[in-house]
Every structure is written in C-alpha cells, then in structure tokens.
Symmetry: C2
Subunit: 436 residues, 2 copies
C-alpha cells in the first residue's frame, strides 16, 4: 500500500504555462489519410474548408510543424484557470490497497468545468483575428456549447448554438450557463434552417440529434459570410489545442520526480484523450515503453468494435469523409449519462494510432463506470463527470492489476470535467434506477 | 485604468497552509456577552452544551487563546483543496475602468463548492476523536448539508440532515450531492421527531423552515448519546475555523506585495465574512487603517436594520439566547436566491464588531446583486453563488468610488462559493422574471 510521500497536488506558476501546442502530425510514422469531399470524394484542399473555418485553423488542421505557438491573447485567457493542478490520488490508492501511484490532471477547474475551453478560447481568438463576427456550433448536453460561449464572450464574438432539443429541455442548467455568457441557444431541429425544417416536416416532435444540430449549424455558417462554424472535438487542430494540458501534466510529473507507465483518457471524439496522451505518445513513438489507453462506453464502442474506414462526420452526409474508426454515421447510441462520449466516430489521429497499435482501446458499461465515480467521490471527495469516470474506472483496474502483481506502476489519467451538472445521473445510480 | 503588472492568481504550496486558526476572542477590546440558557436565562456553562457538541469544540467556543493548532488529520484533508487561490480581477477592473486593484479569495474550489468544508471537516474530526458515531444537522438550500456530508465521509461518521422541505423538493442536485457522500437526508418537518410531528399535525403541507429543521436536528442529537449536533455558521468556533482562508489571503496579498485598504465579505450567519475579515481585523484592532465591510441582502437586513440584543438562535426557542443583531427570531425572510443569507441573526462576534464600529454593514437588493454577478461572469468568467455576488456588488461600488476619486485602493473580497447549482436564479434574472 502506498504511503504519503509528496504533496497532494503539483501546481505550476503562470510563467510555466506552455507557450506552444504540440502537433503530433509532425511525428506520426506515416501521414494521415486525407479527408475527402462529401460529394466529389476528392481529397479536400484548404479552400474547401474556407467557408467553415478561419484560414489559420485550416492551416493548423493540415500543419506538419511540431510546435505551434500559442498566441499571447490566448495565453492571457488561459491564465484565468491554467495551469491546472496535477493531483495524486492518495486516498483512492489507500482504499484500493494498491502499490500503484495514481495521478490525475484536473481539468474540472476551468470556468466551464471541463477541458473544452482550451480549444474554445483558441478558436474564438483565431476567428476574431480574421474578422469573423459570429460563430455557429452544435451541442448535445451543453458541455461544448458552454465552453464556446465562454470563449466567444472573451473575444467579443456572437454565438449561435443549436442544442439537441431533448437536452435543451432536460438540461436547463447548461442552457443557462450559455445564456450567462450571452450565447443564443436554439433547440434543434429548428425552423431557422432548411435542414431543421425538413426534419420537423417529417416529425414535428423530433427530439433532435447531434447529426441534425451539426447540419443546422453548418448551414447557417455557410450562408453568412460573417460567420464560421466551430467544432469541439475530432479535428486535428482541436486535439492539438488540448495538448496544453498534457504538456503541463508532463512538466508536473517531472516535478513530482515521476514518469507515467500508463496514461489514460476517455474518448468521445477524442480531444481530451489527445490532450493527455499526445505529449507522452511523442516519447512512445521515439521508443519509450509506455501504455496508452483510450476508454469508451460499451454502448458506443467506436474504437473497440468499430471499423477503420472512411466515413462521414455527420449523419446528414454534409461533413467531409475522414479515415477513422466508426460505428457508421447512421449509428444512434443509447442515451447514457456520459453524453460527451456518444459519437459514432473518433479523431482520425487517435484512430490511426489505435489502428497501428500505439493506443490500447478498452470499453466499460455504465454501471461499472458510476461505481468508480462513487468510489472516487467518497475517497478523493470530487464529484466528476460520467465521461471522466470512464478514465477513473480504467485507472482503478490498472491499479488493481498492480496490486495482484505486486508492481508499483505510475498511472496517470485525465479528469476531463466535474459532474456537478450531472448529479441526476448519480442520484439515479444511488437509487438503483440506472441500467447498463 | 489598471494594467497587468502581476499574475492572475497567487498560489501557496501545501507547506504554506496555515497550521493554526486565529481566535479573535483573544483580541477583542472587551469580552463577548455570555450566551444564556433558553429556559433559565442564566449564563451557559460547558456542561450545558455537552449534549450538543464535543468538548473540544465547546472549549474552542469559549477559548481566549489567540491561535489554536489545526490537527494534523484536519490539515491532511484541507490539503485536498487548500490552499485556495487568491485572484486579481484584472478583467473586471478593466471593464470598470477603475484605478482600484480588486483581489478575491476563491473558496469555490472546494469539493463542496464553498468555504463550508473548512469547518465541516474540523467538526467531523473533533466529533470522531471523542467517539461520536453520528451527527445531525439542518440545511436550507443544501450548501451546509453537503459540506458536512463530505466532512463526515472523510472521518467515517454517519450524518442525518434535515433539509427544509421546499428546498428538498426544489434543489434535487444538492440533495444528490449529500447522497453521494452517504448522508441520510430527510425533508423537514418530518415524522421522526416530536417537533416535526407537532408542525405536521398543524399543517401537513408545511414547506418547512430552518427554524423547524434546527429543532428536529437538535432533538435527535440530544436523544441519542452517540450523536451530536453540528452548526455551519454563527458560533465562535465555526467562525474561527474559517480564518484559515483569511490567513492564507493575508499571506497571498503579502506575496503580491500589497495590503488591502478594504476587506469585504457577505454575511448570512457570518462565517465566511469572519474567515476573510478576522485576520485583518487583528491589525485594525491594533490601529491599522482598514475598512471592513459586511454585506447582506436588503430583504434580510440583520446588521443594517436589526437590533443589538439577546435573542434566540432558532424560531422554536430551544437554542441559547445570544447577544447579536437580530430581526427577531420569528422573522421570516422572503425567498431570495441567496438562501445562505436568510438568517434572522448573526454571529455574536461579528455583531459586537459592527456595534462597536469596527465593521461597516451595507445591504443590497437582489437585482443589483445579480447584475454584479452577471458582470463578474462576463469579465472574470466565473459563475458565482448569489451569496458571494453580494460581496462582488460591494467591491464594484468601492472600485467605482475609487474611479470617481481617482484613488488606487486595494479591494479584497471573499468569493465564498460557485453558482453552478444556482443557475436557475441566473436564468430567471436573464429572463427578467426576478424581483427585488
């Protein structure tokens, strides 16, 4: 059993905040297969993406530069909540009676409560810098929508959020967060777009879906020369913006005098996983022995059961085709509480790394995940997002394997967000009403 | 207008965590008037309080020692979230275009989301150390109940919470938090106590009140030799436990190379105010010039409109009489969103300091407070508790006075908690449905 031998948390000063993001594309053994045009199926060029994104983000999406400087204006907003703490889970270790050391990067401390602002702030900045007046986006449970609302507020951009109708009705608190930061939130499907009207004509009571909401957000952005579209995961530049958290974690592990044997992140589209994993993956690609694990729900088993092939990013086939693990773009996952992990595909980079054996994917059912979340809340004291609880479950399993083997490994996971707006899921679990 | 000349936040390491609480009773110009027995009206002795509190807390309640050591076991739990950051509100300063410097101590980062765990953890520890098996308490909106649930979880105590029925029904998220940390939560009035049954006999649909819930919690504690009662504010030892935050703030201001000209806290029972104010009050009592302001809602104007006299701590006249500012123990405040500030009385120490002119009380109506909360969320990015927003409103007013006078004062306030479970209040404000 581990004993207390260092602080509960390692902090960095604002001067120690990373000043560049790490672009793993520079270090991939072979280049990524190109994204294809949804109609012509020809490789996409920058000009194809120009109606959707500002040119600097398109450049980042395709860049082969190893490090990309974080603009001063973005750093100044990051510093409101970054660097975030790296914590050692002494009380969880003790409860598990494991010789393993468990560390976690705590991204729950951002004002929006998750890692999402790391890219939201950057995206808002680059759009503003190129004269864009407003952004459009979609959101499911509202985690991404609220982060982008925060980012847009800081840089004076308007934001239109299409929020899946069923969440709009069931998650009033996240909707309220977006309103606090001045975003305009519309339940999707809506009457504002042709895509929305088409769906409503067929089913006036449609509960909506991320796929429909994407179509609405894209349609609105393309129709307005002053607007662009913003996505909170999957894309290369989004995953890259998240590496700020992994670069911090690496420096913090070093301050602790340790290096992780196992690195763990949960995967929906792949952005928080990329954030924690890529800076360590760099070492692995150079030959370092390190186990990197991607955790997903068994109800949406993209990496563990999906196929690695070209597929559309959205249900309506408006988005480009990318080479990725996918359950098929018509796949409808069951309504589990970890809403952020319900995506049919995954980041092309993460997919490639899984396909080539650099990342080990694993999946867990909902009840086991909530059981881990409860154990975490009752030892470490923190109420975490059901998404993050997938990473916790995996960390616990790895720690128990260490106990069995009598090995003292260093396990590092990313705690992507708090669960304060997910307490209804906890209440259902405690009441025994939750199903796998 | 201020310009950026230092970090956004000053952090302390775990080694810099204060190892003693500051007991202001040692430095009061004259002693506190004693509490009186609710029946005999004679001054209370320690033995009168023994059925309610463990002896160590009774000693602290009456202690004249200037510093009381924080037990190692309590420090080890504090370190999960302490020291908390001291932040400089650069973006708010810029928006106000003020020469004032605005600093705030951020107690929202605790696992329960407020300053309340500072005393909950200590109280749980002392009860456990004296062999107590379970605690009882009351809670209104659930802020205190959830903090004590967390404290009891860490020290292996059972907890019975009587939650005002109307909040029990309307605040399911805080109820869920208590459940996560294993507390047993009962809507009050309940059938479990004579006090509860009496109320229900008269009004089966009673929405409950803090006064009734206190009576139930006290009745249950007194009837069970293995149980004690716990209170989250007002009492001297509770206010003292909160000084850990003010002692940290003082050290952090020093690291910033500054000393506050104005110190501000909101007041319900007075505990978070005491926490930020007392360590600076020590200097004021020694002659230092410093303005110390206590902020309350106009709808519950205890310090600004109440009388300084002996009154009962609870509605049912079971609690001792204490010398304090009071609106009368039968006063029923209107149902504002800052539920934590709806108490008819106030800490005897804070009351005495107000009465003797050391503390300047001020009150604000609800709409002005929410306006300040919105400005804070849109500049600093943080969604704060409506209680804390009272302190923000006062800080903004002081900063605007500085602008008018062309003075660059240092303003420090305590941000007692986040508002993530208070977003319905924000939504009502934004929709224009909130009233003063």
């Amino acid at each position: 059993m581990s004993s207390k031998e260092g602080p509960y948390k390692v902090l960095l000063s604002e001067e120690e905040l990373p000043t560049s993001w790490y672009n793993i594309q520079a270090d991939l053994p072979t280049p990524l297969p190109p994204p294809l045009h949804p109609v012509t199926r020809e490789p996409l060029g920058p000009e194809d993406l120009a109606p959707l994104f500002p040119m600097e983000l398109i450049k980042q999406e395709m860049s082969q530069e190893r490090y990309i400087e974080i603009p001063e204006e973005v750093l100044e907003v990051y510093k409101l909540y970054r660097p975030t703490p790296l914590r050692r889970a002494y009380r969880l270790e003790k409860e598990l009676d494991t010789p393993a050391k468990i560390f976690y990067k705590d991204e729950s401390v951002s004002m929006a409560g998750s890692h999402k602002p790391n890219t939201a702030i950057a995206q808002a900045y680059y759009n503003k810098a190129e004269g864009v007046k407003r952004l459009t986006t979609e959101t499911g449970a509202g985690q991404w929508g609220s982060a982008l609302a925060l980012g847009c507020k800081f840089f004076g951009l308007d934001l239109k959020v299409f929020m899946v109708r069923i969440s709009y009705d069931q998650k009033p608190y996240r909707r309220a967060m977006m309103h606090v930061w001045s975003a305009d939130v519309t339940p999707s499907p809506s009457e504002l777009t042709q895509s929305g009207r088409d769906v409503l004509a067929e089913d006036p009571d449609s509960p909506g879906s991320i796929g429909i909401a994407i179509s609405e957000a894209v349609e609105l952005a393309v129709a307005d020369p002053d607007a662009r579209y913003s996505l909170g995961s999957v894309l290369n530049h989004v995953c890259m913006h998240q590496t700020v958290l992994g670069l911090e974690a690496k420096a913090q592990m070093e301050k602790y005098g340790e290096y992780p044997d196992v690195v763990i992140g949960c995967v929906g589209g792949g952005s928080n996983f990329s954030g924690i994993a890529f800076p360590f993956m760099k070492d692995k690609l150079e030959g370092k022995e390190i186990k990197i694990m991607a955790v997903e729900p068994t109800s949406c088993p993209t990496l563990t059961k999906g196929k690695y092939e070209y597929d559309f990013g959205d249900e309506a086939e408006l988005a480009p085709l990318v080479m990725m693990y996918t359950l098929g773009h018509k796949f409808v996952p069951s309504p589990i509480h970890a809403g952020g992990l319900r995506y049919h595909g995954a980041s092309p980079i993460v997919s490639k790394l899984v396909n080539e054996g650099y990342v080990e994917p694993v999946s867990y059912p909902q009840l086991a995940v909530f059981e881990s979340a409860m154990l975490f809340a009752r030892t470490e004291g923190m109420i975490i997002a059901p998404e993050s609880a997938h990473a916790v479950k995996c960390a616990i399993d790895e720690a128990l394997k260490c106990k069995e083997a009598g090995e003292s490994k260093n396990i590092l996971f990313n705690l992507s967000g708090h669960g304060l707006l997910d307490l209804s899921g906890y209440e259902e679990y405690i009441a025994g009403n939750l199903k796998d």
